[in-house]
């Protein structure tokens, strides 16, 4: 015979299960995914797959590889759904998985990468030509300058040490502040500020002709 408290708890759980995911924190949605709520997992994938692919693309500079790595990130999230503990923000956990994967991949393929030369005259063979399509609002000279600038940005960001690169990409493109980046990279906040400052200083120095 169910008690009144038990019945009330059951009703509360039923009501909670119908709460829209966007009214919950991502960590709460992830906890639901851990109870085999596939819609919760799907919600998180839908929300984060674009930024994750963009992050991986800038980490490895190859769209096909970026998508493969992003697939692996979300599969790891799925595999860990039952053991996930909401100790930190969901994105901190997500980007820690992503950064580890990208850095490990870069280390495993360092020799392959080091032999490549960035050409300014040919389409980007890794990502396809889509990124360097001429802007119709610019004249020929402006388009050439724009293309050179873009290649320089990619080249110098890619040349940063892995942790600096990951920190800059999370700060600049993923909209994360240094506190969250510190959580992802397992560094102190002051070490993260220092890491970011050094990275931006290097980029400022190497890109000064375009600024």
């Amino acid at each position: 015979m169910p008690t009144v408290t038990g019945r009330m708890q059951g009703i509360a759980e039923m009501a909670a299960s119908h709460v829209p995911y966007d009214s919950l924190t991502d960590a709460e949605v992830m906890l639901r995914a851990g109870t085999d709520d596939n819609a919760a997992y799907e919600y998180l994938v839908t929300k984060y797959h674009r930024p994750m692919i963009a992050f991986m693309y800038r980490m490895c500079h190859n769209q096909a590889l970026a998508e493969d790595l992003a697939q692996e990130v979300f599969l790891r999230v799925y595999r860990s759904r039952e053991t996930y503990a909401a100790n930190a923000k969901f994105t901190t956990w997500l980007y820690r998985i992503a950064t580890n994967l990208a850095v490990n991949h870069a280390r495993d393929h360092k020799v392959e990468r080091s032999g490549k030369v960035v050409s300014l005259d040919e389409p980007d063979e890794e990502s396809g030509a889509t990124m360097d399509v001429a802007d119709p609002t610019l004249n020929v000279e402006q388009n050439i300058l724009r293309r050179e600038r873009l290649q320089a940005i990619k080249k110098h960001v890619m040349a940063l040490p892995e942790k600096q690169r990951a920190a800059v990409l999370m700060h600049k493109y993923q909209g994360m502040d240094y506190r969250e980046i510190a959580g992802v990279l397992k560094l102190s906040e002051s070490a993260t500020k220092s890491l970011l400052f050094r990275a931006y200083e290097v980029l400022r120095d190497r890109l000064k002709e375009f600024v």
Binding site: I53, F74, L75, Y78, G128, T130, V157, F197, L207
Partner: protein, 148 residues
Amino acid sequence: MNCNDVRENLIELLTDGPADPQVKAHVSQCSACTEELGSLRKTMALLDEWESPEPSPYFLTRLRAHVKEERQKAPAMFGWLRRPLLAAALATVLAAGGVGYRIFMTAPPPDNGAVADIESLDKNHDLIIDTDLVNELTGAPSDDVAEP
């Protein structure tokens, strides 16, 4: 706060997030730090030009297929552990195996006839050699067959 203390903290002012009021106050009064912050902001703005490509339209379809595989794989590998009868049977087999192994390891080695015969022949050969040696020392005739 001096300029050196402020430099690395300029990162706080690069985005709209909360920043240390002391850093803000210093920058507002220091032209060198204001210039430094301005050039960092320009570098950040330059990075805006690097856009990322659109994800492939099959990304989510592929991921769903992988997840489905994972879901099907999990019960196939560990699902049987959830069945009490199978788990109990496995536990019995493991326990019986353990007991059997223990008995086997503590039992004396079986008597092997062929090995015993070879050991006996070796002993006899050693005895004959010893007798020959004693005969030679005492001047008694050797048991060796004389060469023609």
